[in-house]
């Protein structure tokens, strides 16, 4: 009996060894994953939640994609990066795509993350600034003193539409993008070019009482963060574009449904992000992404046309651009939601 038990123990040990050994024997894999790089328009933030969720929850892997997300920033031009082949997809504001088209660059928007323009002017509540007219005679922060960035162009367009002379206010570039920091410091009375889902959310978290002026309330419509790619990729590998768009939109759909879990995925990308801040941003952007009246990611002609008109007004582009060459809903229509 003792002898048999001894054998029994040996068998158990052998079994363990076999199991561990066979585990090490990782055999050949599937078809190689398609390597995709995405040039984001800004630093890592919950704004790009759909990309993070798609990557973390395996939506990209399920589409046989290996996606690298590259951060942008004030110095990065996503269109140039994509055209240079450093990335296959990019995220940038709608006017940049129109400008690229006007330049003859072959890029097309395939989806828009936000349906509504998030652009705002932010002021402290006690400043009394509640409408654009209130900015007259005030110090207003802008993104670039040249007023040639997307955000400044939109701001100028709003003032123009209302017949407000930009010369009646003092413009200084914003240096600190944290919440209402520039306003609280008194450096400026109002800051233009902010996203409703970023600085105001942070300011409220910081306990600052603020007011916001939405550009869209004054007819300034814009797709703030469309996803674009090259016409070449669309023509030669439509399937790849479709798979990427499908996985990304699935990511955004899940982000909308499960904001709390999504924050966990977002936080993977930047250690400086806070759970509280990213959750607030996520919740704030849900109505911008899913309006209920269009499919998530879908784009409308009138929004693009508004942007084209603004660029023409300000002579950013010299000739009208056919908006049908600027965007396509093919890939949004080509997926189930």
């Amino acid at each position: 009996m003792v002898n048999q038990r001894y054998h029994f123990a040996i068998f158990l040990i052998i079994v363990s060894i076999i199991i561990v050994a066979s585990g090490c024997n990782t055999a050949a894999d599937n078809k190689p994953l398609d390597q995709i790089t995405v040039q984001l328009s800004w630093f890592h933030t919950a704004e790009f939640a759909g990309f993070y969720v798609a990557a973390q929850q395996g939506f990209y892997a399920a589409e046989n994609l290996d996606v690298t997300l590259v951060t942008g920033g004030p110095e990065v031009n996503p269109v140039a990066e994509v055209l240079a082949g450093n990335a296959q997809f990019g995220v940038t504001a709608g006017d940049n795509i129109i400008r690229a088209r006007a330049n003859g660059d072959e890029v097309t928007a395939v989806a828009s993350i936000y349906q509504h323009s998030p652009l705002i002017v932010m002021a402290l509540a006690d400043s009394g600034i509640t409408r654009p007219q209130d900015l007259v005679g005030k110090t207003v922060g802008v993104i670039s003193p040249n007023l040639d960035t997307t955000w400044d162009i939109q701001f100028v367009a709003m003032l123009n539409h209302l017949g407000i002379d930009i010369a009646d206010m003092t413009l200084i570039p914003i240096e600190n993008y944290h919440g209402a920091a520039e306003l609280v410091s008194g450096r400026m009375d109002a800051a233009s070019g902010f996203f409703s889902i970023n600085e105001p959310v942070q300011a409220r978290l910081d306990g600052d009482e603020i007011t916001t002026i939405f550009y869209s309330d004054y007819g300034i419509l814009l797709y703030a963060n469309p996803i674009f790619t090259t016409n070449d990729l669309i023509n030669t590998q439509p399937d790849l574009v479709q798979r990427f768009v499908r996985a990304t939109i699935r990511g955004y759909l899940l982000a909308i449904e499960q904001p709390e879990q999504t924050v966990t995925d977002v936080l993977q990308y930047d250690a400086n992000l806070t759970q509280e801040g990213e959750l607030a941003t996520l919740l704030a952007q849900i109505p911008l992404i899913n309006t209920g009246y269009t499919r998530v990611g879908q784009m409308e002609a009138n929004v693009w046309q508004t942007t084209v008109d603004i660029l023409l007004e300000q002579n950013v582009i010299t000739a009208p651009v056919n908006i049908n060459t600027v965007y396509t809903n093919t890939f949004i229509d080509g997926m189930q939601q």
């Binding site: 048999q4 054998h7 029994f8 068998f11 158990l12 052998i14 079994v15 076999i18 199991i19 066979s22 585990g23 024997n25 990782t26 055999a27 050949a28 894999d29 599937n30 078809k31 509504h116 323009s117 998030p118 509640t130 409408r131 654009p132 007219q133 539409h161 209302l162 409703s196 916001t212 939405f214 869209s216 309330d217 004054y218 007819g219 419509l221 909308i256 449904e257 919740l283 849900i286 109505p287 911008l288 899913n290 309006t291 209920g292 009246y293 009138n302 508004t306």
Partner: protein
């Protein structure tokens, strides 16, 4: 032969031979174990070959390394199984069994590490298989199975929580879950089959118990389940119908409310001076600035009055035909441009319109906007009056919960799945909660009405009715938790469960009692049969029941009694026979000393009658001259009487006569049945008679006749016995007769000698002659004796007259 018909059996036989040769201590128990190991090996290897085939085809479809690795593991396990088989052929059965179990652990322990969503198949299937193989190949050594099962569980648990490798989700390939399910199903079937075998080969007690309980419980359970399902369905139908009517009611209320929004705006517009005020605001060229300011003040006041009076709006505002908000009860909104808003576009084209709940980034809220165009005298749209509806009103409508119980609620959801009205559950704020239940998806995506049972947003399972409200572009959902809706149903289900359990307990008790009443007596009977087989006949079963079992006991007792009686009568008969033989011997011994015939026959009849307790016995002797059978001895008074009467029977007449004539014994067991039987008035009680010839070879000397006063009182055994006695009597009779003859001869010789002496004593011829005549006459008792002398030449002879 069977060997040829079944190659598997032939193979097994050769394995048994090999194993028996290798192991000198090979027993029948070992043979059973070997048989099980043999079949486990055959089935295992077959299953592995089939599985490898399946995995190869799956691999070709997917190129997933997990399949390839599994094929490797399967092959390794197959090799192990073959090693086990070789050990088994060498008679090392337990080692073989260990290896088989190890192979099972390798296969099933590997699965959870690389397959996703197959945990329950691999865990359950693996455990069952280990117990099955363990029970088959290591009978009774449950501690080994338990150790293997525990070890497997450990591996499985580790695999469940630790993910060292990328796993392949079996749901990615529709065939794969089926494959796993089928394999597990086969394992279950095999186990079920084993269970049935145990049941079939179990004792009567076990089988009766299981049968009784299942017969009682099955119908009860089926009826309970059926009733429960039926009543559940009817409850569900009822609750859904109720929810549906509530939803219909709410829809009507919403439509009425939307209409009232439009009406209230219309009334406001039509109000006194209003048209004029508005016209002055909308047509700047027709009025002075002072007028405009006054008109604006008036209008704003009127708008505020309407809001306060109707409580229908949170904001009323006037839009120019260019799309700019000219005036609003919320000053913040003035100056905003709404050209892109749907409500403005609709109203601009001259339509009274209500825009469904829409999120406006600037207000940060989802609201309903009702608009009416204002026409100038030419009938052209000169502006738009709009009202942002007070969503609280909608909330009030939806929050009215008559007929919805403790958990029921109705709520609206917008096109983007946002919750538009309050939830009765905490943690779901209006406008920030997104409802993506089955009902929400159906009503919003397909814009259809329907009903169903699904998990609601608050986590509970609900019965729900959903309606697409086209006028508002929203979904209306009415829900009640299943827990509440089916509470009555659950009570009855609980009752049914209690009934089933009670019935189950009763069934167990009743069947235990019944089983005992059958099995126990059977056990007693079995023990008794064993005792009887061992020779103990003095037992009897206590019969307490009046049923078949009681009858069986009675029959058993009667059978035992009969056997007992049979055995004892047999002993009696042996005793009787022994006694008869002793009597016969005694008679013979006595007869041999009796030389007097009359004394002999008298002794014989008395002895025979006394020894066998016959009613009567007598002997006839054949008179050769008359050929009559003369009775010479008889027992009792009747015998004496017949002797005095000089009773005789002619040869051939009656029983006695026939026996003498045929020299054969004649038996009449029942005289009343025998034709031509002659009753003897001296022997009135005779019921049976046997006549046995007394014969010396062919020569019949007489007949021994016995009579009995009972029907069947005389039988063949008696006849045989009597015959042997009769034979002795014949010898004795012959002896007496020979003795008589010898005695006569001796007496004659003595007489002659005496006469000779007397003659010799005479002196003269004359005297001698006279003496001779006198003596001869005396001896011969002749009347006249004459002696004649004759010449010597004539060789004179004496004559006797």
């Amino acid at each position: 032969m069977a060997d040829r018909a079944n190659p598997l059996q032939a193979a097994y036989q050769s394995v048994v031979k090999t194993a028996a040769k290798a192991n000198p201590d090979f027993t029948t128990t070992d043979q059973t174990q070997l048989l099980h190991i043999f079949y486990t090996v055959v089935i295992g290897v077959t299953a592995i070959i089939i599985s490898i085939g399946a995995y190869i085809s799956f691999y070709l479809q997917t190129n997933a390394w997990q399949f390839l690795a599994t094929i490797g593991v399967m092959s390794a396990a197959a090799l192990l199984i073959i090693v086990g088989f070789i050990l088994a052929t060498k008679g090392q059965l337990n080692r073989a069994a260990y290896i088989l179990l190890t192979a099972v652990i390798i296969i099933y322990g590997w699965f959870p590490f690389i397959w996703e969503n197959a945990h329950w198949y691999t865990g359950g299937g693996g455990l069952l298989l280990i117990l099955f193989v363990g029970n088959l190949t290591l009978p009774g050594r449950w501690f080994v199975w338990a150790a293997y099962a525990a070890f497997f569980s450990l591996i499985w648990t580790i695999a469940y929580f630790w993910h060292p490798f990328a796993r392949y989700d079996i749901n990615q390939l529709p065939l794969l879950p089926i494959f796993f399910a089928v394999v597990t199903g086969i394992v279950l079937l095999i186990l079920f089959w084993q269970g049935v075998r145990i049941l079939v080969s179990g004792t009567i007690r076990t089988r009766l118990l299981i049968s009784f309980v299942s017969i009682t419980l099955l119908p009860l359970a089926i009826i309970a389940i059926f009733t429960n399902i039926t009543s559940r369905e009817s409850s569900e139908t009822q609750v859904l119908a109720q929810l549906n009517s509530i939803a219909t009611l709410k829809e009507a209320e919403i439509d009425a409310w939307l209409e009232s929004l439009q009406n209230d705006i219309a009334i406001t517009i039509i109000g006194a001076n209003m048209t004029q005020s508005i016209t002055s605001l909308l047509t700047p060229e027709a009025s002075a600035t002072a007028n405009e300011i006054e008109a604006a003040t008036n209008l704003r006041t009127l708008f505020r009055e309407t809001i306060n009076k109707t409580q229908q709006f949170e904001e009323l505002f006037l839009i120019s035909k260019e799309g700019q908000i000219l005036l609003s009860t919320d000053p913040l909104q003035e100056g905003k441009i709404v050209t892109n808003e749907l409500y403005f576009q609709e109203a601009s084209s001259g339509i009274n319109y209500t825009q469904s709940p829409t999120f406006f980034p600037s207000t940060g809220r989802t609201t309903i906007v009702a608009v009416r165009p204002l026409f100038n005298t030419q009938g052209r749209v000169m502006g738009v009056v709009a009202g942002r509806a007070n969503m609280l009103r909608l909330n009030t409508i939806m929050f009215e919960r008559a007929g919805l119980g403790r958990t029921g609620e109705t709520y609206l959801i917008g096109r983007n799945h946002v919750l538009l009205t309050a939830s009765r559950f905490n943690g779901f704020p209006i406008g920030a909660s997104y409802i993506r239940t089955e009902a929400a998806n159906s009503v919003l995506d397909k814009q259809i009405n329907g009903r169903g049972i699904y998990d609601s947003y608050h986590g509970a399972r609900v019965l729900g009715v959903y309606r697409w409200i086209g006028s508002l572009n929203v979904g209306l959902i009415a829900e009640q938790t299943e827990l509440e809706a089916l509470s009555g149903n659950r009570a009855s289900a609980r009752l049914a469960l209690v009934a089933v359990i009670t019935a189950g307990i009763l069934a167990v008790v009743a069947s235990y009692l019944i089983t005992r009443s059958i099995a126990n007596p059977l056990g007693v009977l079995t023990n008794m049969a064993t005792e009887i087989a061992a020779g103990n006949l003095d037992l009897s079963v206590p019969v307490q029941q009046q049923d078949e079992i009681g009858a069986l006991g009675t029959a058993f007792n009667s059978m035992t009694a009969q056997i007992r009686e049979l055995v004892s009568t047999l002993e009696q008969r042996v005793f009787d026979r022994t006694q008869a033989l002793a009597t016969s011997t005694e008679v013979s011994r006595q007869l041999s000393t009796i030389l007097n015939q009359s004394e002999l026959v008298s002794e014989v009849v008395n002895q025979v009658q006394a020894a066998f307790n016959y009613y009567h016995a007598h002997i006839y002797l054949l008179d050769e001259k008359s050929q009559n059978l003369i009775m010479v001895a008889g027992t009792g008074e009747a015998g004496q009487q017949m002797l005095r009467n000089q009773h005789m029977i002619a040869t051939g007449k009656g029983l006695v006569g026939r026996a003498a004539a045929t020299n054969l014994p004649i038996l009449v067991p029942d005289v009343s049945q025998a034709a031509g039987w002659l009753p003897n008035p001296l022997l009135p009680e005779t019921k049976a008679e046997a006549a046995v010839p007394i014969a010396f070879g062919e020569e019949v000397l007489g007949v021994l006749d016995v009579q009995q006063n009972q029907v069947n009182g005389l039988q063949d055994t008696d006849v045989n016995l009597l015959q042997s006695i009769a034979n002795q009597v014949a010898v004795a009779l012959r002896n007496t007769r020979l003795y008589q003859e010898l005695e006569n001869q001796a007496r004659q010789a003595a007489l002659i000698n005496d006469i000779n002496q007397k003659i010799l004593s005479t002196t003269d011829m004359q005297t001698a002659m006279q003496v001779a005549i006198r003596e001869l006459g005396r001896v011969s008792q002749a009347e006249k004796v004459q002696i004649s002398l004759i010449h010597e030449t004539t060789n004179g002879k004496s004559h006797t007259p």
